[in-house]
């Protein structure tokens, strides 16, 4: 072996390590850094087929999917990142886990049933993209919409429910908290009634933005690419438990809703300004708001509550507020709250069975395209 100075080797290694760490925040597009959506390198839509829904999963080894917070990487893995055909009429669906399709196989989601309908509009093939994501916050939807607009949608269908509108829910979604800079930019740009200094939106420190600090997001990015093989090989992107409990039917005699008590739910209690921001952000692209179906319990105390989430007074007033807002602001809205019967819910008051999704898809396609 040649004469080697250990000190020189160590000093060089240390310098390279330091330089890599210091330069990483400058060149990286880590979640905490920029507000603008960027193209992210990805093997999806190139080596592997694009995912039909955004990456999400708590048990990666079983679901072949994982939760990460790098929106650029998430969108790059989605089928929406594939080039748009000239004759395509692109529709994106926003919403929570019911849109994402919790417990549903990819071919049983709302977007899949809408695509299966084979709709066309003025000679253009209508293609629906599932951009739902399993947490309830319209601010989370707005964040996703900002990215979705980079993929040239022609129509946005935004499914909402009361639980995604309370102010205290807006910043509680992990994906919102892991993207503080873009969320703060949204708050400031659209003057949202949310606190940009909320501790949940703490900026990543310099050390968190270095290579060492970003090791988890980087590993998640690589894992996402690796799971592309499993997605391509199996078309599985979710773990399906062998059994689950039906939505709660016997309910507590509790009429409070996120600290609010009857008799009145004010419009200002709800983050309707976020919906307004979405419309504004979409600009020329039309937006259809859909009040998604909910489980209407017939069990104990169902005279007080509709389901686990909603006391009747709050939900009824929410529907009224949403209807009035839609009329005042001239928004296209569809209230599908009681569309789906009791037996078509899986494990929650908003998660539908394939038949329930099919029913909702039929209703949406009728209202939107056959009107």
């Amino acid at each position: 072996m040649q004469n080697v100075s250990a000190r020189r080797v160590l000093i060089k290694a240390l310098l390279i390590f330091l330089a890599a760490n210091l330069l990483f925040p400058v060149f990286s597009s880590s979640p905490g850094k920029g507000a603008e959506p960027k193209a992210s390198p990805s093997l999806y839509n190139f080596v592997f087929p694009g995912r039909q829904r955004l990456p999400y999963g708590d048990q990666p080894d079983l679901a072949y999917n994982l939760s990460l917070f790098d929106l650029d990487a998430m969108f790059a893995s989605h089928i929406i990142a594939a080039p748009k055909a000239e004759d395509e009429y692109r529709v994106v669906l926003l919403g929570d886990s019911s849109v994402w399709g919790f417990l549903l196989e990819p071919q049983d989601t709302l977007s899949a049933y809408l695509n299966a309908a084979g709709l066309s509009l003025a000679g253009r093939q209508v293609t629906f993209y599932n951009l739902g994501y399993p947490t309830m916050s319209v601010t989370k939807d707005l964040l996703l919409l900002e990215h979705a607009l980079a993929y040239q949608p022609d129509l946005i269908i935004w499914l909402v429910t009361l639980e995604s509108l309370p102010r205290d829910k807006q910043l509680s979604s992990p994906i919102v908290q892991h993207n503080p800079v873009p969320v703060r930019t949204l708050i400031e740009t659209y003057a949202l009634d949310l606190d940009p200094a909320d501790p949940a939106l703490e900026n990543p420190s310099f050390w968190q933005r270095t290579l060492v600090g970003q090791r988890r997001p980087l590993a998640d990015f690589l894992r996402l690419q690796m799971y592309g093989v499993m997605w391509a090989a199996t078309s599985i992107d979710q773990y399906y438990p062998p059994s689950y409990d039906s939505p709660q039917s016997d309910l507590e005699a509790d009429d409070s809703f996120h600290g609010l008590l009857p008799p009145t739910l004010q419009a200002s209690d709800l983050a309707l300004d976020v919906l307004q921001a979405g419309v504004q952000m979409a600009g020329e692209v039309p937006v259809l708001f859909v009040n998604e179906p909910i489980y209407i319990s017939q069990g104990q105390n169902s005279n007080i509550r509709y389901n686990f989430f909603y006391p009747r007074w709050a939900y009824d007033q929410y529907r009224q507020v949403l209807l009035e807002t839609c009329q005042q602001k001239d928004w296209d809205c569809l209230d599908a709250w009681d569309l789906v019967s009791l037996g078509e819910y899986t494990n929650s008051a908003i998660h539908l069975t394939p038949a329930g999704e099919k029913l909702l898809a039929d209703q949406i396609s009728q209202v939107t395209f056959k009107k």
């Binding site: 072996m1 080697v4 250990a6 080797v9 990666p60 080894d61 079983l62 690589l222 894992r223 690796m226 799971y227 093989v229 499993m230 391509a232 090989a233 199996t234 078309s235 599985i236």
Partner: protein, 484 residues
Amino acid sequence: MSLSHLLVFVILSLVLGRIASARWRGRFLLAASGLAMYWLQPAIPIRHLDFWLPTATLALSVLVWASTAPGVEVDEDKRCLQQRQNRITALTLGGLVLVIALLRYTQPLCCLTPTIPPAVHQVLLALALAAGIGWAARRISGRRPWLHALTLVLLAVFVVLKSEFLAQAASSGLRLLNGQPTATASALDLRWLGFSYVAFRLIHSLRDRLDGRLPELSLEEFIIYILFFPAFTAGPIDRVQRFIQDLRRPFRLGLEDALAAGRRLLIGVFNKFVLADFLAIIALNAVNATQAHATGWLWILLYAYAFRIYFDFAGYTDIAIGLGGLLGIRLPENFDHPYQKPNPTLFWNSWHMTLAQWLRGYYFNPLTRSLRMIKQGQSSLLPLPLIIFIGQVTTMLFIGLWHGLTWNFAIWGLWHGLGLFIHNRYADWSRPRLAWLDERPGLKRLSELGSVLLNFHFVTLGWVWFALPTPALAWQTLLKLFGG
């Protein structure tokens, strides 16, 4: 071995390699290996078993040493000195076990073992019992029936651990003894860390003692050889004659050794914790084999398995060799680019080399030798191809069953055994017929490349039997790989 284990081992090895004097090197290695054995042992639901299994490893090692160490030393002074040293080592080992047991009283620092160790009086009783057996074994040291019996005991334990049915029955028995419910007994309860490798080293020592090839070893040297912590969990299986030379050589870690070992460690960490762990995400398993719906992607899962198992195992070997290098022990190589070899024979000369060498030395060679000795008149009764067939197939069957007594491991062993035999016959047949290839180097290179690809796929398809739990699933998967 996790990354945190590894970090501690690297620091420990650096310190030992750098500062331990020749006098204390053995003591430190002994203590470090003993402690590491307890620390690495995974948790077991049977009460205190994660303490008793490492203790049993230690006791078995002492027993085999006592049974193989020469009984008489001509030089009286030397004998006294050796006896004194061995007594000190025995006391050190006993003290070590006792200290680990006493950690149960040092909450919240407790414990080195994954669960709380047993009560001290039980440990003292076990130590007294082990000392008694060791003393008795010393009296009959070197007697052939006793050495054979010990070999059989080790093989029996091995069979119990590798057989799901027997391991579950043993777990039930141990649970019953402990007053624990037997309904939840599982074969996985008997995760005796490192036993496979320990058993190989112990049997090697017993066999070499029987053949008069075992060097004279102190208790300290023997225990370090058996439990040497870098190679404890995943080999390589060193030979005591080679190991002891390094151990006895004065060593102080220098820059060159440190850099070479560091490089090996880095390669090992990258292979194991980056490549193998990432490939594990997509490697073939019982679940995804049934889920994969396209033949092409199923091949990708299989390739991922082939490379994952290689990088995992070779990575561990690199780590072991790197750690050994920091301590002045040059562990033998275990892998030599096995997937670049053009035939099964060369593959098995470069894959898990120390296991293959062990089996060649202690099973294949003696077996084929004895088969050749069966004579009818002047000539051997059995034709040479049959002797080779029996030797290769049974050796590979043994290697298969070493991984577990299941049909799939047996079929995997047979797959390779038949592959070796067919290649052996083909090589004999083709050697004169393909001699002309030597004059056409381009064509020869192309043929070698084809051989490498063919052999790689032979080995890779063999992994289907190894990776999947039942013959039916493996057969179904093989059919699927070919479009079925």
